[in-house]
């Protein structure tokens, strides 16, 4: 390593810049979280102070938990996210297997057709999607959301998984065929476990946009019993806009699950983002 690249002054400047930006990135989240535990007067008098024994109060959380069905919202978000990811991964992997494994007429064309959706946002088709969901009676059901998110996730999932499946050894699959395993068994027992890292990457990519989406819940499933956490907190905060305790507590309750998920999956997410899967 050359000396010119390890100048101590440079190191200080680099850490300085990074710390500054980290503070900018985390400050708003921090402010919301600490103030959600304070009583109303303290929120306004000393917004930057940590809650202490005098200013500590859970009144915001009490309001949120009694007035809004946050557990129900959370459950809806969970069902929608998990189900959408499951179908995206299963259908995506199946299609990717067909595209990468078999030579058939129209293989290239099919791959291109399925890849089109990577760049075109599904939101453009919202008017017709709503009309279709009304016609099929799926409006205000979680299925409407699951279907939309699955369709939205498939193009990129197929694209990434096809790349990965091409790398699975041909000999291995042929050996399995000689042993008399069916194509379905080869897919389920052999290929799927081998591309697990790619499946995880796709899952993490799709998870955050699905969990955080406001557009489709707002349009396709606004009813109280199917509200997702994102929509539920938006409506709740809109109603309680002058009750700062409740607003801050609702925001914190929306931040918390995502933050926990992030702590669990951040390594996977960052590895996925930096593995070059999107190149």
């Amino acid at each position: 390593m050359n000396k010119a690249r390890t100048n101590p002054l440079n190191a200080v400047a680099m850490h300085g810049a990074l710390i500054l930006y980290t503070v900018i990135a985390l400050f708003p989240v921090f402010i919301i979280l600490i103030n959600s535990f304070k009583e109303r007067r303290a929120i306004f008098r000393e917004p930057l102070a940590l809650p202490n024994s005098e200013s500590f109060s859970m009144v915001g959380y009490e309001t949120v938990l009694t007035q809004g069905d946050f557990f129900g919202y959370f459950q809806n978000s969970m069902i929608v996210t998990v189900a959408s990811l499951f179908f995206t991964l299963l259908f995506g992997a199946m299609a990717a297997f067909a595209l990468s494994e078999y030579r058939f007429k129209g293989n290239m064309l099919m791959g291109l057709y399925l890849a089109l959706g990577i760049m075109i946002p599904i939101r453009i088709g919202t008017v017709a999607i709503l009309e279709m969901m009304v016609a099929t009676g799926l409006v205000n059901t979680l299925w409407a959301l699951i279907l939309v998110y699955t369709a939205q996730g498939l193009p990129l999932a197929i694209f990434i998984l096809t790349e990965f499946m091409r790398q699975v050894s041909e000999d291995l699959k042929n050996a399995a065929r000689v042993d008399g395993l069916s194509e379905y068994t080869i897919f389920l027992r052999l290929v799927l476990p081998l591309v697990r890292p790619a499946l995880a990457t796709v899952a993490v990519f799709n998870m955050i946009p699905i969990w955080n989406d406001l557009w489709f819940p707002l349009i396709l499933a606004p009813a109280e019993e199917v509200k997702t956490l994102t929509l539920g907190s938006q409506v709740f905060i809109g109603q309680y806009v002058t009750n700062w305790n409740a607003v801050l507590a609702a925001l914190s309750m929306a931040i918390l699950p995502v933050l926990i998920l992030y702590v669990i999956f951040s390594r996977q997410l960052i590895r996925g983002l930096t593995s070059g899967a999107v190149k």
């Binding site: 690249r5 708003p28 067909a98 959706g117 075109i120 088709g125 999607i129």
Partner: protein, 303 residues
């Protein structure tokens, strides 16, 4: 001899193709088709390009459309000149081989990106609010209190403020993608540069930046598509009316208001489809410029 049909290929492809075609491709084209219809006496009538004529010709509509498009364009420009350079700069620092705590910084800076628009929109609304006074207090600490204004409430600042909030939220994406590209540059190339006396900043400008240009291209097109179909942040912070006085109205909010209706205005799916059609065209043009104009001409270096 006819080749026998290999049913398993069909089985593998069918679910994905069905769901994708039925829920994404078909509605996309159906929306474009609906743009050619209108509702007269509660029946759907084919009107050709009339809706587009209204959208571009009728002063009430066209004023709103061009306002939304112009705002959207400014929204995109702010992302290109603020978000992407900051993201690239952060990645350049993070990819330094001897940097300590790099993983920690990386994870922390990415946190805003995982939060929903609802959280981000409301959190910034509170922080910038003159009632709470966090923003003025902080500005006071650096002797800049005189600069403070209720930015989200002022027509001339609101859009830029929201664009910067969005930049704050999404800086993590260009940072991660650039970081991924930077760490694949082989050490030998940088060492060869050092022998020629190219180090530090000039190594970044002369060696690394040309090598990661394709990544910057991808970041630009992702920013473009993301911005021209944005909606959530504006809706959360300013509502469907994109106030003050439509100064933060972008195509997403304009389409939502038009096809879903708001307050007293009834929703009009056909005009909404026409706006969706315009958005589709804009995104398509952007993607084509990228695919055929930029991507194919970009020099790629074999590493």
């Amino acid at each position: 001899m006819m080749p026998r049909i290999r049913w398993h290929i069909l089985v593998f492809l069918a679910p994905a193709v069905l769901v994708y075609s039925a829920v994404m491709v078909f509605p996309l084209f159906n929306t474009l088709r609906l743009a050619l219809f209108s509702e007269v006496d509660q029946t759907r009538v084919f009107v050709g390009l009339e809706n587009f004529q209204t959208l571009f010709g009728d002063p009430v509509w066209s004023e709103q459309f061009w306002n939304a498009l112009g705002n959207n364009f400014w929204f995109f420009v702010v992302h290109m000149i603020v978000q992407n350079p900051i993201g690239i700069a952060l990645a350049a620092i993070l990819s330094h081989p001897r940097l300590r705590f790099a993983a920690l910084y990386r994870s922390a800076i990415f946190i805003p990106t995982i939060l929903s628009f609802v959280i981000v929109g409301f959190a910034w609304k509170l922080i910038l609010s003159p009632i709470w006074g966090i923003a003025p207090t902080l500005l006071d600490a650096v002797w800049l209190k005189s600069l403070y204004a209720p930015w989200l409430g002022k027509e001339e600042y609101a859009l830029t403020t929201l664009a910067l909030v969005s930049v704050w939220q999404f800086v993590g994406i260009p940072m991660m993608l650039t970081y991924a590209a930077l760490i694949t540059i082989p050490e030998e190339i940088l060492e060869a540069g050092e022998i020629d006396g190219i180090t530090g900043m000039s190594a970044f400008w002369k060696i690394k930046l040309p090598l990661i240009l394709p990544t910057i291209g991808i970041i630009s097109i992702l920013t473009f598509v993301g911005n021209f179909n944005a909606f959530d942040l504006i809706y959360v912070a300013q509502g469907a009316l994109a106030g003050p006085d439509f100064s933060t109205d972008i195509l997403g909010t304009f389409m939502y208001r038009t096809f879903f209706g708001f307050q007293l205005q009834l929703g009009d799916p056909h005009m909404g489809s026409a706006i969706a059609g315009a958005m589709f065209a804009i995104i398509l043009v952007g993607v084509c410029i990228y695919l055929f104009g930029i991507q194919t001409r970009m020099r790629r270096y074999q590493l």
